[in-house]
Subunit: 341 residues, 6 copies
Amino acid sequence: MSKKVVTFGEIMLRLSPPGYQRLVQTDSLDVTYGGGESNVAVSLANYGMQSYFVTKVPQNPLGQSAVNHLRRYGVNVDHTQWGGERLGIYFAETGASQRASVVVYDRANSSIAGIKPGEIDWQTAFAGKDWFHFTGITPALGDDATAVTLEAVKAAKAMGLTVSCDLNYRKKLWSMAKANQVMSGLMEYVDVAVGNEEDAEKVFGIKAQDTDITGGKLSDTGYRQVATQLMERFKLKYVAITLRESFSASENGWSALLYDGQQFVKSREYKIHIVDRVGGGDSFCGALIYALLADYTPQQAVDFAVAASCLKHTIPGDFNHVTLAEVEALAGGDGSGRVQR
Amino acid sequence: MSKKVVTFGEIMLRLSPPGYQRLVQTDSLDVTYGGGESNVAVSLANYGMQSYFVTKVPQNPLGQSAVNHLRRYGVNVDHTQWGGERLGIYFAETGASQRASVVVYDRANSSIAGIKPGEIDWQTAFAGKDWFHFTGITPALGDDATAVTLEAVKAAKAMGLTVSCDLNYRKKLWSMAKANQVMSGLMEYVDVAVGNEEDAEKVFGIKAQDTDITGGKLSDTGYRQVATQLMERFKLKYVAITLRESFSASENGWSALLYDGQQFVKSREYKIHIVDRVGGGDSFCGALIYALLADYTPQQAVDFAVAASCLKHTIPGDFNHVTLAEVEALAGGDGSGRVQR
Amino acid sequence: MSKKVVTFGEIMLRLSPPGYQRLVQTDSLDVTYGGGESNVAVSLANYGMQSYFVTKVPQNPLGQSAVNHLRRYGVNVDHTQWGGERLGIYFAETGASQRASVVVYDRANSSIAGIKPGEIDWQTAFAGKDWFHFTGITPALGDDATAVTLEAVKAAKAMGLTVSCDLNYRKKLWSMAKANQVMSGLMEYVDVAVGNEEDAEKVFGIKAQDTDITGGKLSDTGYRQVATQLMERFKLKYVAITLRESFSASENGWSALLYDGQQFVKSREYKIHIVDRVGGGDSFCGALIYALLADYTPQQAVDFAVAASCLKHTIPGDFNHVTLAEVEALAGGDGSGRVQR
Amino acid sequence: MSKKVVTFGEIMLRLSPPGYQRLVQTDSLDVTYGGGESNVAVSLANYGMQSYFVTKVPQNPLGQSAVNHLRRYGVNVDHTQWGGERLGIYFAETGASQRASVVVYDRANSSIAGIKPGEIDWQTAFAGKDWFHFTGITPALGDDATAVTLEAVKAAKAMGLTVSCDLNYRKKLWSMAKANQVMSGLMEYVDVAVGNEEDAEKVFGIKAQDTDITGGKLSDTGYRQVATQLMERFKLKYVAITLRESFSASENGWSALLYDGQQFVKSREYKIHIVDRVGGGDSFCGALIYALLADYTPQQAVDFAVAASCLKHTIPGDFNHVTLAEVEALAGGDGSGRVQR
Amino acid sequence: MSKKVVTFGEIMLRLSPPGYQRLVQTDSLDVTYGGGESNVAVSLANYGMQSYFVTKVPQNPLGQSAVNHLRRYGVNVDHTQWGGERLGIYFAETGASQRASVVVYDRANSSIAGIKPGEIDWQTAFAGKDWFHFTGITPALGDDATAVTLEAVKAAKAMGLTVSCDLNYRKKLWSMAKANQVMSGLMEYVDVAVGNEEDAEKVFGIKAQDTDITGGKLSDTGYRQVATQLMERFKLKYVAITLRESFSASENGWSALLYDGQQFVKSREYKIHIVDRVGGGDSFCGALIYALLADYTPQQAVDFAVAASCLKHTIPGDFNHVTLAEVEALAGGDGSGRVQR
Amino acid sequence: MSKKVVTFGEIMLRLSPPGYQRLVQTDSLDVTYGGGESNVAVSLANYGMQSYFVTKVPQNPLGQSAVNHLRRYGVNVDHTQWGGERLGIYFAETGASQRASVVVYDRANSSIAGIKPGEIDWQTAFAGKDWFHFTGITPALGDDATAVTLEAVKAAKAMGLTVSCDLNYRKKLWSMAKANQVMSGLMEYVDVAVGNEEDAEKVFGIKAQDTDITGGKLSDTGYRQVATQLMERFKLKYVAITLRESFSASENGWSALLYDGQQFVKSREYKIHIVDRVGGGDSFCGALIYALLADYTPQQAVDFAVAASCLKHTIPGDFNHVTLAEVEALAGGDGSGRVQR
């Protein structure tokens, strides 16, 4: 029987100018919805798992549309809290070549940021579930959101779920000091941590040596040190680190390593021609959770997760609209892009 | 030399589904910008007046785009304050037949709502200007906005500008009691008041008798009473009341009456097939201010203002993209809609 | 606790040229999904009932998208059969004025048309449910589809569900003779029948007298006779007849009458400015089922159902994207279409 | 065997803002191609006649696209002259309600305006053809264009083709005096003249009495006088006059009368909800030529032509994308606009 | 005088999500029409040859639109058979980077698949023509289509036309065994065979040695063996093989070799940044036929054909919208892509 | 206080097919406005300078829209002359890979081409300004335009403005001989000259040795010789040369060198994945003028200008929609394209 995964966080209205237009040029915005944890939930539903997304949205057509968007892609939203002020919004311009993609957040005072401890019935939400996933964004939304996240991880742990966290540091939401303090508390309940090439440093001050991120140079050795420190400090089962080499907004190198406390396994590295880079890390998390729940070996798991997230970079919007078969084909080695008739 | 008019208020990002789609259906939103006072400023610029819009917008691509949109249509934005949290947004669905248009506001915590007394240098803003216009929406944005509006009307009055106010009651922004209290204070400085068929009642409790608004029946007599009471209570020079008969979301009757303390003049009534009804009242105000500054007779003024606003109902977006010649042609009697080659 | 309704039938990919373009002009097609029974299911979900749609779709991105479209609007699709040849398609041009809307069907050999008796586990599908709805389109898809529909109505009846049928005669799918034979057999299990101004005649030869449909003249008396004959012949609880006066493709009169064996109740008649007329009858059925399950009086039920379907005519696509509150407001008398802010 | 009709004139690139946008708002323009004589050619091809369009276009992608657009709809373009400066362009805004549609011409110095006498081999172009049609626009393009038009009508007459002319006065192209002089010379060769409610007056000073065009009042009597005078002055076989009552840009009355020298026959009058009014007169001409070539009676001919052009008003673009069957259905009396499934 | 080429096969409605969207995301589909043989016909018309496309389409707006699309681009469609069930459809997603383009066929039961021997009057269709081209797709549509293709090649051969065949193996349409049997029969009448890097193996079991197609490694030697075997087995005049190195869905290597029984000539190899890869092989065939009919040397012919098809990869849709001059410029060595002003 | 720059020239309506479509395919055109000198004006406004654009446009919605487009992006248009025949138009197809972008001009007889000496009051236009910029396109529009340009440079020089010229040779507008003659006269008044890799040769016959432009090979040495000759011949303060290596329409190398009479400074070279290449050179000029007015060192200036124009290649339309901060970030070395959140 398929495994059940719960994620918790914010879903936002995402508004993007068509093509490569900038916000100051456009008179039309493409509408999708997304957010770290909802993106993970959609990935899991795509692979055939039962996925649940817990959030709070306003009782208006925008809140309804966000929920509808999740339902459309197979995510269970029965635990949605309705109410609060507004749906968070983010504006996303797609960059190209030397011009970076730009994200303008308009997420303050969202319904989920205003959620209060006790609003979510975690006992019900977690009953019969296998896994709980959250990211560093949710507690960063404010003290109430931190408190509710803490409720969640405690309940999940108590009820026997595996808990995973994508560190996902957002400098516009909180300071590094505050992040360190809050996240350190939450990590106590976490089994699987995922981070990218700068999260560990920004959140916990754990730095990869000999690595120049903006310059696009990554050092394996450095990241092994990071993974080791994370695992030791927080008694984790797995640490995964995604490694992005940003040659330009149009072209990235993409790979990851996974550490289970015994060995480091590294994925194949993809050179990606980018369509939409947002949600790349989330698609990695979704696929990694799937792979670990499906009892893949560490090597299989990291290969699957990197292949899945490689494909995400070619799909517009936050969500990773791929099938299990498509990910497996790429993980199995066929990246030729030949037409599938 | 052309007259100079200043308006003050909020400009919002307006997001509308294409055609007659509802928000829950759409995956694209048409982008324009609008708001009562900015709409008036654009109308005045279209007629060749020098129009100035004073506001506060955030220092991001959305604030820049709002300002750009005003510049595009000839409004001077040199007095813009940059800063604050966010640009207000509103979502506007276009209704049809028995389905009403729906406006979903997401304007709380906007930069303009957070403006503080003293931020605007009204002495500079009003130097050499002829007219100041505001609406009941601006003071409804909060106590700070009320205080700044009061600064503005006092300064305008002291500096010899004519002051006009469109009552524009918005029930989502404040209660009738609060509106009555605040607006009564502001009206002390007002020379010209404009309202629609329900504003006077909602704001000041002045009610048109024998009139059933939702049912679409309007009584001239009732509205003359309203105009008389407004004029007496606030010592006004002119009171204008727009009269909308809402047969359906697709078809409205539209006319107005103007009272100068001596006689009531009533415009021709148009039966309008509606394209976009938002901004109808604002286009009336813009045209009325133009006509009064251009020394039209009361009858000419109300005819011009109703013709202008009749045309607005046929144009997508908040702004009234018409030329002086087009308004004059309609006010002069040609509503045949024959192709202009 | 909310009631549970099951519908069964075909969902198709609907492709429409934007605006008023004709198929021979367009180089883009708007994508939605629809079909009589799925449209009913969406209406019920909108009103807060638990609605289930049973169908068969191909295992490809089009079948998946059809299912996703239903999930998006809250319909449970757990009983979907996956397989078969293809998803049925229909092309829909929107007419205007004297130019009729045109539907081009490309639905032959669809997965649902090829469904075999025994494929659906009706025991499971109907367990704990309150109502089953189908239309005359499903059995018209072929002998297998007829057989499965017969399975369904028998099981529904045996399990205590109320059964409703929208006659929905489609001349491109079968002859009147065949329809009469098949539908007569199915009607044996039906409690509530719905038809438009020509279905009863085309399917059962029951004709409204003194009525010229194409000419747009409808006679109440004639339709009462039709309702009476249907009720007597098939021992029904309710007969509802929708009455469309087609002044043009842009403007219709719309009303209905409902007969419970004792009295005839007639709704208010709406004069509708049409945006998209397809799905009008389905939205009537969905709202009628809701009203009857919610124990509305016959007058309330027909008023609710006609108001709901009046609104549908203003919404693009097959589905009726309205809320319970919106329908109630119109049924309660407010058809003024004034902006809802 | 199907009849062969030749038309001669200008085809332009037509650029229109989407929906009801004005030119100053739009950042996208819908592309079609059109022009009086090409529109007639397309109508004839739609009805199954062999239609030929003679023109001159520049040797660039725009000239190629104009030709392609005609080929697409079945018009033979083998006699196209390639060369000259540019393709004429016109910008067309769609009006609504009291706001008129606006056409902005940018057609000066087009390839066809620069055509020289002798460029077209009329002997070849007319060999085996039955009918030649032109409009008052072509000679108005300049003296060269006038000279070539004169070549054409002389050759057509000499070769036994029936010659028709749509007067189509364009005040931006020439004065009434010039039009009178040139058109009087051309009419010598014309058998069938078509005009609207103001052409005869503007071109030949023949005025309908008791008629107020802008006010939308038309008098049958007046138009009969116009038709009689045209016929007598130019020894015509048929005179057709289209009668437009312009209630607004959204709603027109539309009918026509046809005079064969013996009796006046008047069509049914349609009240049209307008989608795109441009090309209305051309679609009348195309249908009238078809009907006369197909030996319809005068009453059948005018009914067919008015039904065809009624439908044109509901179709975006210049061309009348209807089938023979659709026109016949409307001419036969079915204007109910009921969905054709 | 320009040469005349006939092609025969299926034209389908092609529906593609805009940009890089996947089918499960889109709510709009771009419309074009295409198919192997029609694509070749359009190429030939672009180069100034007289090209004819023979097919069967349904008598509905979709069949009409397919025919219109060919007429638009200059293809003669006088031999179209009208009738049958439906127009075949294919859905085409554009891939990027490691994500392959996906084609979903919905072509079963199309009108052309149901064509019967004797329906096409090949004597008339081939009278005065120089060349006949078909692909391996047409006989794969079913036994009737095979029989009609056999009629065609026999008639063509008997009437002295050169016959070319693009092997074009489609695994969804038939098995390798069936393809081998049918194609072997047809090849008896073929003069010029074209295949890609896997057709010869899939259809005739003729395999390039030392070549790993999915891995993107191609061996010249291997392909020379393939060409030699094909020529010997079927007594051909020319064998052309296109060589695609699929680095990713965004980037391919593209070249070809041509064998005339005496020497192997190889084209320049292009590294292509792909816009739309579908129709690449067809554009090669069209250009090759042109070049051979225009008496190019083998080297000129293969260079022209590869340059033409290189350009096709940069153009959306199936058809190769290029001019003779553009192909010659690239074949002549200018691939710099500098702006042509 | 911010510096004031005046530019003078033509602004055109730019019409582009969406995406990579060709003109013969499209039925929609994206609308922007642009032209060499207006593009420079927009760049300067973006960096916070006061920029003024002097031109002449027709008094119609297209002229108005061109002016509006400049106002939108902060350019002062108070010196616009209204009148003349038409707004120039250019059609721009976006190329890809080996397919070049194509520009089709339709600019003859534009209002600005018809401007007469004396129409512009240069004394007023230049009062209080710091810099005047023009390009080789303006004098190429005709003898009148040449005369007015000569008026401008003389007045600018006399009033103490720095004068810059982008050579910008356009072979469709004039011959090399004519260009040489006219431009030599104008250069007498120029302080700063900008050219690309072929302008100096085409206009003045000054050729870079050892350089094959179409083949994409550039030699530093050669360009130093060109710069030296230009400086000596025209007594310039600065000569800047942009160096484009056109690998394909999708990928270019981009750099520049700046010579101040003493030293040659060369920028970093960017390898650009191109979105829209039109306006690349103009964005270089705008940034260079900014940098020189802001007293950057030569190295800083050329680095800033090349970074700015590198970014332009990633933005649709003629204008360079970037902020000062974005250019500085790239000039400072961050070309990683990492998402800016």
